[in-house]
Subunit: 348 residues, 2 copies
Amino acid sequence: MITKKSAKALLRVLAGEALAPPPIWMMRQAGRYLPEYRAVRERAGGFLDLCYSPALAAEVTLQPIRRFGFDAAILFSDILVVPDALGRRVEYREGEGPQLEPLRERGAIDALRRDQVTVRLAPVFEAAQRIAAALPAEVALIGFAGSPWTVATYMVEGRGGTEFVESRRMAYFDPERFGALIDVLTDATVEFLAGQVAAGAEVVQLFDTWAGVLSEEGFRRWSIAPTAAIVRALKARHPGLPVIGFPRGAGPRLIDYVRDTGVDAVGLDSGVPMGWAAAQLGESVALQGNLDNLVLTGGGALLEREVDRILDATRGRRLVFNLGHGILPPTPPEHVARVIARVRSAVG
Amino acid sequence: MITKKSAKALLRVLAGEALAPPPIWMMRQAGRYLPEYRAVRERAGGFLDLCYSPALAAEVTLQPIRRFGFDAAILFSDILVVPDALGRRVEYREGEGPQLEPLRERGAIDALRRDQVTVRLAPVFEAAQRIAAALPAEVALIGFAGSPWTVATYMVEGRGGTEFVESRRMAYFDPERFGALIDVLTDATVEFLAGQVAAGAEVVQLFDTWAGVLSEEGFRRWSIAPTAAIVRALKARHPGLPVIGFPRGAGPRLIDYVRDTGVDAVGLDSGVPMGWAAAQLGESVALQGNLDNLVLTGGGALLEREVDRILDATRGRRLVFNLGHGILPPTPPEHVARVIARVRSAVG
């Protein structure tokens, strides 16, 4: 790991320093809980239009930085821009999850437009450029993508958050066909993330939202292996680039994930006790997480207790304070400010 | 732990013996994947009618014992008979999950008919009696219930498998109101399980299907604590009764769950590596699980490999072979038979 000095707290922690107070950002910090986001969102038209508008995507990325002074901005985008760029139909209907045309056949996998990824995603790179130019000197810019497994589940099922019967079936019983899809997604993800880094992202995070549903063998083959390949490819192109992996629901398999992927930091969902993670995951990774997003909606004494619990359990460890999952729309923005203040008032 | 000798392999393992081959049963072994189940189901009318018909519930419980020779029968019932018995409306519509009238107000919690539980659930106890009388001498009878937290999520949300925003909100921010509901459910669950034991169940399993969504503090308070209370109350009434706890999605928190609930065995979902569980969960509990139910649908070499992996990782340990979640409807029955044969051909 390269330990170059930086004024940016997030980069310092990812490079090896334990900081007190720790840097803080929150997943989905640019989102519907902010009135200024909702105003832009209404103007943008569809959700993908917002993702593909460099000016508007930059604007909503910067909103929570201006309002709260987070230590990092995360590029406003979506994990499903990759299937969209590969030529699959992706739709967002109001009040529903995303809908895609389900992908099952080998022919359709081979027909994915891998050559189009960097062309189609150019507006995202332009957004990253604008954000990087506008960010205060102490704020790091995080790029992101979905992991191949997670993106593949949306592509195969046609939607998210299901029992994943079709994607698991293909993964387990037609690994050659599924592997062809994962290979396309692995390459596309490297291109997507490398493009973000070239445009100014200083850190990237891989969201493996549905890692938890995989069997033990499946987890190694479809979550750990593609993640390791992406980390390797990115670090070859951008030596020293820090990578955060977030295998949601991985549970005890976090131990294998940390050991075998090469990530610099690991995102923890709220189901992982921080004390366990600090003791079991080794000193080679920084820990990121894991305040319960529902606790954040309610505020009060419980919120302060849960913040303190995370800080107490990670004393002396490299921590990036975050949630265990994205900010929920009914979250009062003042609760976010209160968490930041409490984290920053904590010292060693 | 009482270590009385029994001819029943499941009871021997729960009482302290490591057996090779291990006893085997499967969650939802009585279910839609069996043509003989579907035939009875059609005759029964509604799903709850089947649960409340002692003759038909006994018949479907016995079907997989006759067909496969499992080491244990699990009473055919449903975790939502408890809210039904408490006077809440519970509906099963074809092809959808269960629907309940959402329970939110303190008045409605206080109005729950705790006095009706054993009366309304008498047909379930009668089914257990019939099954116990009909089972072969070497087959153990397992009773079951949902855990208070899991049943409460259905009651508060009105349905299952959601983001659990309302139930988590009540649990975290109105713990007095939520605690009142959990207390009613804890008492009702003890009555329900004790009634099953009095009718002939020799083991009980608590299904905490949605334990994984709780925050760290929430998991202690709403999963571990009520489970510990139920285990204590049941063992006071029925000394030596073995209890299996199944906190699905608990991940590393299984360590706390095992240490603090007093369960005799712990059910593991497919996300828990058996090697990790064998090393980390101590010798005080038997391990139950955790074949991936999707792997079971597909069969073939992968199925054999995953069966062997579980057996290899638990050599010398007390194991109850099972799935990590219930049998899926598209599962070919011959795959179930193949797993049983493979487990039974494995020796020490």
